[in-house]
């Protein structure tokens, strides 16, 4: 169980958070202009990486804020947390 450094509250136990899947997938601005395939790409396709993964997390049982997190799924090391809208601090 991780300890997650919520950008708003500080370090808290993982049980307070919920994971919202892959980060930096922006909702298309004009969905009506997309083909079925393009829309399906947005809707269904998610990476499942063994290694460094960018994820969305929500401090569900705390401040309820969403934020981004960089986690190495092979060892669960959290490499960075940053607020929504911010650029990832690492590549």
């Amino acid at each position: 169980m991780f300890i997650i450094n919520c950008p708003y509250c500080g370090e808290r136990d993982q049980t307070e958070f919920s994971c919202g899947g892959e980060a930096h997938i922006e909702r298309p601005k004009q969905p009506t202009e997309l083909s079925d395939d393009q829309w399906a790409e947005y809707l269904f396709m998610r990476k499942n990486i063994k290694g460094v993964q960018f994820e969305r997390w929500n401090h569900a049982h705390g401040c309820r804020k969403w934020f981004n997190m960089v986690r190495d799924t092979s060892n669960d090391k959290i490499q960075a947390v940053y607020k929504m809208g911010e650029k990832p601090p690492i590549k």
Binding site: M1, I3, Q30, P31, T32, N58, A60, K65, W66, G85
Partner: protein
């Protein structure tokens, strides 16, 4: 049998306190400090149980948590009995009642023992191979397999004991109270760090504490005396907590650990009353020091499983710690030096070892020389090839090893004995290290997997023999040095330490010892509990299994309650030898938590019975209870299901309630619906984006029904939202969806549309909702709020009014989920019960009838209103529900819009919501029943299923909603609902059964 093998020697047992206990009904005595195993051995009892598969007699083999054989059933109370308890771990208490498992009628005469003679017919994979065919026989096979499977008996009644969970945070957690753990705890505490030291035994000191041998000295005194002083000195540290009888179960990431503390298991039953039995510690440690030690390996030779064959180090512990001789004619069989320490301990206690069989050519070690000086006889370069004795070993046979160790030469010579100690070297206990994510490396010179220091997760360290250090000087010096850097110490209280110990530890490793017989004629056991042998492993390899994970599952090696702690290494070794692989490349099977079995009680703690889950009750709950409501669980909510009167059953009550609601008036507690307060200058725009229909033009004071989709176009939730002000709405959601809808809306606001000025607040608990429906609802409301103009002009359907009931502000919405003229009163929850009672009084003359969820469902089904989650299942679009009217086609975008014209969502043969009427109007079918057209053509094509089904008292016939392939086009079509004993004929209809013109809304 009634011999006393206790020696009167200065040991760790309180021989002044006698304790009586029972084993298999026989009354026996032991002493305070004994384990069940040591007390049984003192009574010369070795035979404790029968093995799992062949029912072979098995005895005590170890003295710790790695014990594979001596597992017993404790007690016989149907709620307190405890199966699969290791006799080596259970501390003796007055009145302990233990019995053997897996044997019938008794451990001495076990019918199942016939399996032993059938063993050539029961190779690895026997069950997989035999019970494959015919498939239809599986149910018959299963009955017998289930009956012969399993070791102990589970309790049949619920557990009355109390279990606790507790969180703990510390700077340093030390796991293991052996010499390296004690040194670690002292260094940590000395530095002023908050330290917890846990050990699974009742005493500290590990194996060093009873190592009475002048070959081992620390600072000029015997190592055991030195360690005793160190343990004593730990009392001086207020920042050090010591927890005995506490077993580490799991080591998760980020130094989160679970440990089970046994608090009463060592007390007599009378002393346990009112106390917590076990406590599960949830520890978050800044740093973890693993000092979990190592366990001795057995040796693998034919019939190495007989009662009386014990690990050599365990013989030593029984004599040195418990003062118990494990036999009167003991021999030892070894591949390393540690058996000689046992021989010396036995010698000092007056037991002369008959012979030591050593597979090595010789040893120059100091400890071996000492043993030889005592006149002990050693058979060098020899191996045990077989043993005799059914319920206790009687003799063993020895042969000379060939030079390369692959064969035996010469003749067998036989030695009598009643106990054979075996020592195959040591396995570091790396379970916790690997559980935490650490990776192992293989050390070839002593064939051990040890922690790889380059692949160790941060903030943890392994010290002592679990780190592969076995010589006393290495253990102590390396522990101190490693901890100085781990804990950033500049110096330590141990800097001047001086250690004397034997310096050589030679070992010759042969995983499977050779025999003069072919392997097929031998029984070299690997996994003692699951009865898998070296030949099973070889068979699995011959049959093509390559991965060790597969071999493990096929042969069940290492899959018992002991998880193969003793001899997984031998299985790996034999696989490596047979396949010509290096063990390091082969790797190990995965070590999974818990390290030793946890009780279910410890896992669930106090979260049992009414504390299993949260229960949410509405503010009107007490009234419902007083009025004999039957309750239904909706999520965590307790909702009135129906209100039976005069012994009515559910059907009768629901029929009465439904009729009353349409004939005159009904009242429902709708407080559980989710309520979200939405404010902000972009609130209207926000609603436009999340609902399928348009919101900008909704007038203040008006209500609108909204349908919410997922991005995939499937219906997610629905409810009525009311515009309270220019920038202020209140949204209702389904009861079960409330929390998820709020999260979803927050998600979009925070991540996709942060530019919107919108604030969401849940007010589900703050407001209670009382719904009054029926043709007389207006008259009832008029009595409660006499000042309010209830005319259709002033207060039409789908509008709301702010008003007061007895000076309390409330919001009244005129909305309807039943199709009747109806009102929902929303009021601050602490006034809700009063207002409810007022409504009941006002409604008395109109037969105002309280109804529950079942009647609510029936009434809405008559009107064809969906319940998301019942009529929908996440695979239906609005169009599938025949709700195209709610799609704002002109809107630029809303959640899920694009998905509504994906190639899949525009298919015409999707399942679509329809109404169903039965040919026989009295026939009611089960929800979930399948709909088919042709029952003669097999396989029968299933066209859909019933989602809601009721008997409508207002229409006096059965009605149902269903989803059916191409349902929209099938109106009037006759289909069949095949049930177990009959076929029900149905006709597809419109989804609205009652008041199609909606006249009653304004009645």
């Amino acid at each position: 049998m009634s011999k006393n093998l206790r020696i009167n020697k200065n040991n760790f047992i309180d021989q002044t306190t006698r304790i009586s206990f029972k084993f298999n009904g026989q009354k026996l005595f032991g002493y305070k400090g004994d384990t069940l195993a040591s007390a049984l051995l003192a009574n010369n009892i070795h035979l404790v149980g029968r093995s799992f598969k062949y029912h072979r007699p098995r005895g005590i083999m170890t003295c710790g948590s790695e014990e594979p054989n001596a597992i017993v059933q404790i007690g016989n109370d149907p709620s307190l009995t405890d199966p699969n308890v290791r006799a080596t771990e259970i501390e003796l208490y007055e009145g302990l009642d233990a019995s053997s498992q897996n044997c019938w009628p008794s451990v001495n005469f076990d019918i199942g023992g016939i399996n032993n003679f059938l063993s050539p017919l029961l190779p690895a994979g026997f069950y997989y191979k035999t019970f494959m065919w015919p498939a239809s026989f599986w149910e018959k096979y299963e009955y017998f397999i289930r009956h012969s499977a399993g070791l102990g008996k589970a309790p049949t009644k619920s557990d009355p004991d109390i279990y606790d969970h507790q969180y703990s945070h510390c700077d340093v957690l030390v796991v293991g109270g052996g010499i390296s753990g004690i040194i670690s705890a002292k260094l940590s505490a000395e530095k002023g760090l908050d330290t917890i030291l846990i050990d699974d035994k009742s005493f500290l000191g590990g194996s060093t504490i009873y190592q009475e041998n002048e070959c081992y000295k620390i600072n000029s005194i015997n190592s055991n005396k030195w360690l005793a002083n160190e343990i004593e000195s730990l009392k001086n540290y207020p920042n050090l907590i010591i927890k005995n009888r506490t077993s580490l179960a799991a080591f998760h990431g980020y130094n989160y650990l679970l440990a089970r503390e046994s608090l009463t298991d060592h007390l007599s039953v009378n002393e346990r009353k009112g106390k917590v039995r076990q406590r599960l510690w949830k520890i978050r440690a800044k740093k973890v020091i693993i000092a979990s030690g190592s366990i001795e390996r057995p040796l693998i030779f034919s019939n190495n499983d007989r009662p009386g064959i014990i690990l050599s180090s365990s013989i030593k512990k029984y004599i040195d710690y418990y003062g118990v001789k494990t036999g009167e004619n003991i021999s030892l069989f070894t591949n390393n030096d540690s058996a000689y320490e046992t021989a010396i301990s036995l010698y000092k206690s007056g037991v002369k070892v008959n012979v030591i069989v050593d597979i090595r050519k010789n040893s120059e070690s100091l400890i071996v020389k000492k043993a030889l000086e005592l006149g002990l006889k050693v058979l060098w370069e020899s191996t045990v090839v077989d043993t005799q004795g059914y319920k206790r070993i009687k003799s063993f046979e020895v042969m000379k090893l060939s030079d390369d160790g692959n064969n035996v030469v010469g003749d067998r010579s036989k030695y009598n004995c009643d106990c054979l100690g075996i020592s195959g070297g040591w396995t570091p206990m790396v379970h916790l290290f690997t559980q935490s994510g650490g990776k192992l490396k293989f050390r070839n010179d002593d064939n051990a997997f040890i922690p790889d220091e380059n692949k160790t997760p941060s903030n943890q360290i392994s010290v002592g023999s679990c780190n592969g250090e076995f010589k006393l000087n290495e253990i102590v010096v390396n522990t101190i040095e490693n901890l100085k850097s781990f804990l950033s110490l500049s110096n330590s209280c141990y800097d001047e330490i001086k250690i004397i110990c034997p310096d050589e530890k030679s070992k010759r490793n042969i995983w499977l010892l050779p025999s003069d017989k072919p392997i097929g004629k031998t029984k070299p056991f690997l996994d003692f509990q699951n009865d898998s042998t070296a030949k099973d492993v070889k068979l699995a390899l011959r049959e093509g299994f390559k991965s060790i994970e597969h071999v493990k599952r096929y042969t069940t090696t290492g899959m018992g309650t002991d998880q193969g702690k003793l001899s997984n290494m031998h299985a790996l070794g034999i696989i490596a030898d047979t396949t010509g692989t290096n063990m390091g490349e082969l790797g190990t099977t995965t070590f999974r938590p818990p390290y030793t079995p946890l009780t279910f009680g410890a896992i669930v703690g106090r979260n049992v019975g009414e504390f299993f889950d949260h229960t949410r009750k509405t503010a009107i709950h007490n009234w419902h209870v007083k009025n004999k409501a039957e309750f239904e669980n909706v999520g965590q909510w307790k909702r009135p299901w129906y209100f039976p009167k005069n012994g009515e059953n559910m059907h009768q009550a629901v029929q009465r309630e439904s009729k009353a609601a349409r004939d005159s008036s009904g009242i429902l507690d709708a407080s559980t619906l989710g309520k979200i307060d939405i404010q902000g200058s972009d609130a209207s725009e926000f609603l436009n984006r999340i609902y399928t229909n348009a919101w900008s033009k909704l007038e203040i004071g008006k209500c609108r029904y909204g349908l919410m989709l997922n991005e995939d176009g499937m219906v997610y939730d629905d409810g009525v939202t009311t515009r309270l002000g220019e920038n202020h709405y209140i949204m209702t959601t389904t009861t079960g969806g409330a929390a998820n809808v709020l999260s979803k809306l927050e998600d979009y606001l925070q991540t996709e549309w942060p530019e919107l000025d919108v604030y969401l607040t849940t007010v589900t608990d703050q407001y209670s909702t009382i719904s009054i429906c029926g043709p007389n609802s207006k008259k009832i409301l008029a009595k409660i709020v006499p000042g309010l103009d209830l005319s259709d002009n002033n207060f039409p359907h789908m509008s709301f009014k702010n008003t007061k009931i007895s000076n309390v502000n409330c919001r009244i919405m005129r909305i309807s989920f039943t199709g009747e003229h109806s009102y929902e009163i929303n009021i601050q929850s602490n006034y809700a019960e009063d207002v409810w009672i007022k409504c009941m009084e006002a409604g008395k003359e109109f037969n105002l009838t309280p109804y529950g969820t079942e009647t609510m469902h029936l009434l809405r089904a008559e009107k064809g209103f969906i319940i998301t989650g019942q009529d929908t299942d996440g695979t239906l679009t609005p169009s599938d529900l025949q709700m195209d009217w709610i799609i704002g086609k002109k809107k630029f975008d809303f959640i899920g819009k694009r998905s509504l014209y994906r190639s899949d969502t525009i298919r015409e043969d999707r399942k679509q919501l329809v109404g169903l009427l039965t040919e026989d109007p009295k026939e009611i079918f089960e929800e979930g029943a399948q709909l088919v057209e042709n029952i003669n053509k097999k396989p029968i094509e299933m066209l859909g299923h019933v989602t809601s089904s009721y008997f409508s008292p207002n229409l006096n016939k059965s009605i149902a909603l269903a989803v059916v392939k191409s349902g929209k086009k099938l109106k009037g079509k006759k289909l069949i609902v095949p049930m177990e004993n009959k076929n029900i004929n149905v006709t597809i209809t419109d989804t609205v059964f009652y008041d199609k013109e909606n006249k009653r809304l304004n009645a």
